[in-house]
Each structure stands twice: as C-alpha cells, then as structure tokens.
C-alpha cells in the first residue's frame, strides 16, 4: 500500500514539477517600460498544410520585427505569440483556448485552414475575442449572426468564380465543362461554379470529379471534348492541376481555353507543366502579380513593399498565403493602434473598417460582411512565356 501511494505521489509530483517548469520558463513577458500589445496567431506551420502556414508564420514574424523596429504601436511593443496547430483541427482548438485563457490576447489571427477555422470559430464567439481567419471557406463568417467575433481575410470561392465568369462573358463563352477534385477545395469550387453559372448565363455541360491522387485525367478531358464545351474549368490543388494542363495539351485541346482556380497561382506549377501551361487562364490575387500592376493601382505600393522585404529576408518568392498573414496582422495592428487592447472595441473597429489597402484587396467590412473583399479584388491572369501576364480583356 505504501509503495503504491508513494509512486502515485511520485507521478503527481513529477507532473506538477513539469507543469510548473513549463509555466516558469515560458518566455519572459514583462518588459521594461510600456506594456506590450499582444496578438495571438495559430498557423499550420508543420503537417500537411505547412506549405500554407510556413509563409504565414514568416510574414507575421517579419511584420512584427518591422513594427517593433519602428517603435511599436503607439509606443507599445508588439508581442506576437504564434502556435503551430500541425494542420490538425483538434490542436487548433487547444491552441486558441490557450491564447484566450493563458496568454489572454485581445485578438487572434489564423488558423490557416478552413476546417480548423470552423472548429475554433465557436470558441472565439463564446470567449468574445475577435478572430481573423486566414482560410477561405465562406462558412467561417456566415451566418453573420453567429459569427459576430469572426472575420476572414482570404477571398471566397464565389469571388474567384465570379471573376472567371465575368471574363468568360466578356469573351462570349456560354457553354463550359468543369472538372473538380474530390477534396474540400474542389468540392467548394464545384458548388460555387454550379451555383453561379445561371447568374452569368453560363451552362455547365460536363461536370466531372476525380480523386486528389489520380494520375490520369484524359478520360475527364475527352468527355469535355465530346460535350462540345467552349471552355474548361479545372479546380484542384497539388499534382492534379498540373496533370490537367499536360493532358489538355497532349490531347491537342488547346483550342478550348483552360481555366484554373486560384490554386494554380504558384510559379512552381508553370515550371512543373514545362511549357504546357502557355495560355492557361486564372483569377489571381494581386499580391501574386505585384510587378505587373500599373502604378496607379492603389495596392501596388503595399504589395511591392511586402514583396521586396519578404524576398530579401527569406530569399523565396511571396505567396498568397503570406499575403493573408500580412492582411490579418496589419488589420489587428490597425485596430490596436486605434482602440488599444480591448477585444470588444477591436471587434467593432474591424467591423467598421473601410478602404483598408491590403495584399489581397481593398477591404470594406460591414456588419453583414466579415470578409470585406469582392471579385474586383482579383486580376485575370494568363500564362505567357513561362510567367504570369495580365489577361487582355
């Protein structure tokens, strides 16, 4: 009996010692002078979505350094607390709870992914802490009555589809075929493509789905040709979007224009397609095509500043995802600057922010719209000579 209780005491003691150590050795918070302003962040820095979370983390760290080098926010240093959710919704939940309870941050940016953002949205609502998600799903901010405290800075699929259909309309295309991957990304794109088509007078003649790991898309494309479509839309991320381009070229279907989703928006995809991608069209956020923008474009200045700073510091090209971190952190900082570290005031400030010039567009939030972007914040881009070019309207 004694032995057992002794080791139980041992285990409990050890656990307590460990938790004590974890608390004590946490980064020192108190700094001399003014109280730092905290911003919490949850990004998928590792795991399956690390290609999204990594640039977000780097961007956020770079901005925090810049702001602190310039003397902080109204004299308060910016303290950025970043947690990695390892691309796992359960871990995201825990990270957000920790930010709210232990770190007591007045505003949170992230998570990176839609499923994690949907999982944490009710937590932010309940704790009444504003959360600015970096993920795309429209469900993150709708219905707005249940998402008073949740915002997002990534455009919705309806904007991408709207831009694409606008362009098709301008080119006189009315009959299209769509092919989508059976992933969250593909499913959401398919939903919007089908939903918005009638609004733009477009008929979807072929609707093909494929697995994210499929290695041959010839069958899907052949069906498009048989259906006599005037344009093809492919909506996927990863190897299949390059595969679609190659199959399209191999089948000599380049007389039928191929549209891709914004997921194609990385130069790596052009390289991987090896010349086959010439002429592929896609709507893209301006952050990806900074140098192509005319100087009169209001976003040009912030995009070029970010692009140059990021490429100089990390020696890699900027991405859409880093742009989301830029937008969310700068919005949080603008709010802190205006109203201080009060969650309720930050929420109200964000909801009434208009004309905020960011990487992904000019944000106009309202009580009905916690995203603030529209299809006009995208550019139609075409692959030309192995690089992006603005598509001629």
């Amino acid at each position: 009996m004694k032995a057992k209780s002794r080791w139980v005491a041992g285990v409990v003691g050890m656990a307590m010692a460990l938790s004590w150590a974890a608390g004590v050795f946490a980064p020192a918070r108190a700094q001399a002078g003014t109280e730092p302003y905290k911003v919490g962040a949850v990004f998928a820095i590792t795991g399956t979505a690390s290609f999204l979370g990594e640039p977000e983390k780097k961007t956020a760290e770079m901005i925090a350094e810049e702001i602190n080098a310039q003397g902080g926010i109204n004299g308060h240093p910016l303290q950025l607390i970043i947690y990695d959710d390892e691309s796992d919704a359960t871990k995201s939940t825990l990270a957000v709870k920790k930010l709210i309870k232990t770190d007591q941050v007045p505003v949170i940016i992230g998570p990176t992914q839609s499923d994690a953002s949907l999982a944490v949205a009710p937590i932010a609502e309940e704790a009444q802490v504003p959360l600015i998600s970096c993920a795309a799903s429209y469900k993150i901010v709708e219905p707005v009555s249940e998402r008073r405290w949740v915002f997002k800075v990534a455009g919705s699929d309806k904007h991408v589809v709207g831009k694409m259909y606008d362009y098709m309309k301008a080119k006189g295309i009315t009959k299209i075929g769509i092919m989508t991957a059976s992933t969250g990304f593909g499913a959401s794109g398919r939903e919007e493509l089908l939903r918005l088509a009638p609004e733009y007078g477009i008929t979807v003649l072929a609707d093909e789905r494929y697995g994210p790991k499929d290695t041959d898309l010839t069958a899907q494309l052949t069906k498009m040709r048989e259906a006599k479509v005037e344009a093809i839309v492919n909506w996927s991320v990863g190897p299949t979007q390059v595969l679609a381009v190659k199959a399209w070229r191999d089948l000599k279907m380049d007389n039928i224009p191929l549209y891709q989703s914004h997921g194609f928006g990385s130069r790596k995809n052009i390289e991987l397609a090896g010349g086959a991608a010439e002429g592929v069209l896609l709507p893209l956020a301006r952050v990806n095509v900074g140098p192509l923008l005319p100087d009169t474009q209001p976003q040009k200045k912030v995009i070029m500043a970010y692009t140059q700073a990021y490429e100089k510091k990390y020696n890699e090209p900027v991405s859409s995802f880093g742009g989301h971190a830029w937008d969310s952190l700068h919005l949080a900082v603008a709010a802190l600057k205006a109203v201080g570290p009060d969650p309720a005031k930050i929420r109200d400030f964000l909801e009434n922010t208009k004309g905020f010039v960011g990487q992904h567009g000019i944000f106009n939030f309202s009580p009905q719209d916690h995203n603030g972007l529209s299809k006009d914040d995208l550019e139609m881009v075409v692959v030309k000579n192995g690089d992006w070019a603005l598509a001629p309207w």
Binding site: V8, V12, G23, D88, A89, K101, T102, D115, A119, G184
Partner: protein, 327 residues
C-alpha cells in the same frame, strides 16, 4: 480491489475533483483543463484498446475509425436530424458495435501483422467514407453546427462542466473494465494472451471472446467520439485518420499494455507531451514520437506504469509479487 489500488483510485478521484479549481488558480495552467478534457476523451479509447492489446493480445489500428463512427454518428443525427444527443450517442455506439462485430469476426481469425493490416485497411476505408460522402459528413470541409449536450435539463457548458462529464465517463469505463478483467472473462483473456492454443484446449471460447473484446473497445471509442463531437461541435476527417490510430496504440504502449492504469497515465502524458511540451520540436515531433516508442519497446517493454511500480517496489525492498491485471 487491493488496498494499494484503492488508494490510487481515491487519489485519482480527488485529483480529478480538484483539478479544474487548482488549474484555474494560475493563469499559466488555466488551459490545462482543456488539455485534460481531450486527454479524458482519448482515455476512453485507450482503456478499450488496452483491454484488446494488453489482455486479449490483439492489435488494432482501427480505433480512430470507431472514434470517428461515434463522432459522425452523433454529429449527423443531432445536426441533420435533430435527435437528442444521448439518443444519438446510443445510436452511434450501436453502429460502431455492429460494424466492429462484422469486421471482427473475419479479422480476428488473423494473427499478428495480418490482424494489424486488416484493421489498418478498415480504418482507411472509414476515413475515405468520411471524405467522400459529402452530403452526410460534409466531406473534407467538415461537419459543423453540432449542438451541445444537456444533462438533467441543464446544458453542459464551460470547461469545468465538460471536464467532470468526460472524466465521469472515464472513471465509469475504468471501473467497469477493471471489473471485467477480474472476472472469469478477464482470466480467460489473459489465457488467450499467453497462449491461444492452450486456452482453447482448456475450454476458453477463444474466437467469440476476442470478438467481444473488440466490440467492447469499439463501443468505448464510439462513446469517446460522441463526446468529442459535442465538445468541439465541429468534425473533420483529419481528426480520425490513421495517424490517430497509431497515437492511441502509442499511448497504451507508453503507459503499459498490461495495466489499465497504464492506459490512463500514457494517454494523459502523451496528450500533454503532444500539445504542450513537444511543440518546440515541430516537424520533428513524429520522430520524437517514434523515438519514444523505440526506447519504450527496447528498454521498458512493460510500459511506464508497470516499470515504475516495480521500481518503487524495489526501492522499498518489498518482495515483488506477481502483477495482477488491474495494477
């Protein structure tokens, strides 16, 4: 229950009773109660798995799938069909039990690696169904809008309430499993673990017992899944993939397969390690996990709890007594 174990159990109950209050005292630990809620949910899964692995000697890489069946069962029935959460939990558990029985009858004829492969395959199939049946499960974008749970007319809200609810389930499952182990069935299970042929020769109904334990472990996993669904109120397939099945096995192995205490200690420690203390390793977390498994298998094959038990017994110069199933 031996008096040693009684002390430990009372100690555990007291520890759990005060935990939410103690952790709330200090800001640095105030979120530990959230970690403990997840640890409790996972403990339900690992208690069942411990019975299956440590006592019946069958490995399962499908526990995350049963966890998911319980979770999606609750999520779909309450979200789409507005069932009472408790009725939905029961329905999810019944489905998991039925599925486990159907899978278990042929699969448990297999041994060792082949059984692991069969359960792994089943887990992958369930994961694919969660991803592809978009109309029901919401597919990869997840299933939201799952209502909370009510008990005796009051909504369970707040972390302390969830903590007590989850851990009440864990203690009940623990006591029940312990009771099973100390009954005729428990002795038969240990006989199967030691030598199936000999057990069969002694008149132990080997295959039907194995299937029963498999079903029992699936039932516990489904209850855990249902609690997870109502607590998080959002489900996505990523929370129920193979990686989670492996984590559950690792939790059991870490604490000690031959002991229900091992499942509890292993689960709580690894949940904290994964969410709090290994964050610094980031990408290498999986390597560290692998390292832990390797070290445990090589040097502490009996698991942490059994090893520490023996260690403290030696220290107090007591004659080691044969370990009984519950210690």
């Amino acid at each position: 229950m031996s008096s040693r174990e009684k002390t430990a159990f009372v100690g555990l109950t007291v520890f759990l009773a005060v935990f939410p209050w103690v952790s709330a005292l200090s800001r640095s630990f105030s979120h530990y109660v959230d970690v403990m809620i997840f640890a409790g949910i996972f403990s339900l899964v690992t208690i069942g798995l411990s019975l299956l692995m440590g006592f019946a000697g069958q490995i399962s890489l499908a526990q995350a799938a049963f966890f998911g069946i319980g979770a999606y069962g609750s999520g779909i029935l309450t979200g789409h069909f507005h069932w009472n959460p408790w009725a939905a939990m029961l329905a999810g558990v019944c489905v998991a039990a039925a599925v486990a029985w159907v899978v278990g009858v042929p699969a448990l004829r297999l041994k060792g690696h082949y059984l692991a492969m069969a359960t792994l395959g089943f887990g992958v199939i369930v994961h694919i169904v969660m991803n592809e049946e978009v109309d029901w499960t919401g597919g990869p974008s997840g299933l939201g809008g799952i209502p909370g749970i009510r008990l005796a007319g009051r909504k369970i809200s707040g972390d302390a309430a969830w903590f007590y609810l989850v851990w009440a389930f864990v203690l009940a499952a623990f006591l029940f499993s312990r009771h099973v182990l100390h009954s005729r069935v428990g002795r038969a299970l240990r006989a199967i673990h030691d030598d199936e042929k000999a057990a069969e020769a002694m008149g132990v109904p080997v295959s039907s017992l194995k299937v029963q334990v498999f079903v029992y472990s699936a039932v516990l996993a489904a209850v855990a899944g249902s609690l997870y669904a109502h607590y998080v109120s959002f489900l996505s397939p990523g929370s129920f993939d193979l990686m989670w099945s492996i984590r559950f096995v690792l939790m059991v192995v870490f604490g000690g397969m031959q002991s229900l205490w091992g499942a509890l200690v292993g689960t709580v420690l690894l949940t904290f390690v994964g969410n709090e203390w290994l964050q610094v390793f980031a990408d290498f977390e999986i390597l560290v996990y692998g390292g832990i498994l390797l070290v445990m298998a090589l040097f502490v094959p009996q698991g942490l709890v059994v090893w520490m038990d023996a260690f403290f017994r030696r220290r107090s110069r007591l004659q080691p007594t044969p370990s009984d199933g519950g210690s």
